[in-house]
Symmetry: C2
Subunit: 196 residues, 2 copies
């Protein structure tokens, strides 16, 4: 077994009980290295704060409560779409299938107009821009914003959704397999990745 990279301590039997942990902030490099092996589902968040559509790829979306139906995502102050999303009252959170990696890449690319091609998006009757090609989407109103370092946690109360009916051909399609992001690569879940 190789020596793991340890900050302030070493794991397993090598750990001396009286050894003091460094207990300082991890450096950005250490923090990213510790998280390197953590995978995430991929979503695209869109909104229109009143002056045009904004959108960004997010790997930080999860459901926190089914009653009431609440989801959370985080936006970094470093992302160009963040100010617009934080000014909006409502958002659409698209949960992507593995056939939609191109959408994820487009909404993660800086310096382009992510809504340039009008065939890729439309508006809901309530006005929000959305991506009809996404596997599933959830519309909701922003009910809370919490600051955490250079990011903001956004809490959304879900009011509308669209997703393939379980067991339908669309739900079973190859392109409907979950899209997962890990260490700068895109992955598709399916029988091939399942652990017995």
């Amino acid at each position: 077994m190789d020596t793991p990279h340890a900050i302030g301590t070493t794991p397993g039997e090598a750990l001396a009980p009286d050894e003091a942990l460094a207990s300082r902030d991890l450096s950005p490099e250490e923090f990213r290295a510790a998280f390197r092996n953590h995978a995430a589902g991929v979503a695209v968040v869109t909104a229109d704060p009143g002056d045009g559509p904004v959108g960004m790829t997010a790997t930080s979306v999860f459901s926190v409560s089914a009653t009431p139906p609440l989801l959370v995502f985080s936006v970094s102050e470093l992302s160009s779409a963040t100010p617009g999303i934080l000014r909006a009252d409502s958002v659409v959170v698209h949960l992507l299938g593995s056939g939609q990696a191109e959408i994820a890449k487009r909404f993660a690319t800086s310096g382009i107009d992510r809504f340039e091609d009008p065939s890729t998006w439309d508006r809901l009757p309530t006005g929000e821009p959305y991506l009809p090609a996404a596997h599933a989407w959830i519309r909701g109103t922003i009910v809370n914003r919490f600051t955490a370092g250079g990011s903001t946690l956004v809490v959304v109360n879900a009011t509308d959704a669209s997703y393939p009916e379980a067991g339908s051909a669309e739900a079973s399609a190859e392109s409907a397999r979950p899209l997962v992001y890990h260490n700068r690569t895109w992955h598709q879940l399916g029988e091939h990745s399942r652990i017995a």
Copy 2:
């Protein structure tokens, strides 16, 4: 294309622009169905609020900021370990590899003593219980708790970590591939799941 299950609207070209969305809370069943295809990395959070170790499996861990190094996870009031974790000042967040699905299952099982086998856990010099077999772990202090419905978002400032050195045999091992949870099944990422 099958008709997708839509709440208040239908996607794509069938969407009538003047059709009103229902814009009510999604039911728990609708909300869960919309999220069914969203995968997540798997973590186990452990702590000791002063009266013994507690721990739970969490699929809601993500990093929100590298400077300062902050991560977030959510705990549901329905989980037995939640009161203990919310009383603690510090936690250890273990990011699991695909060889550690047994750990994830144990910390997701109700009605058992998750720390019964003393060979599976130890304590850090700072006192927190931790799981030496986990692929990587991050210790940190709880700096914020936000309520969202029946759950609490916990913000952790990372102070210590242990993870395999990039490129080491341990980091490249089969068991070190990311463990992913999706729709009640466990998955392993790797070359086999990668999208070209």
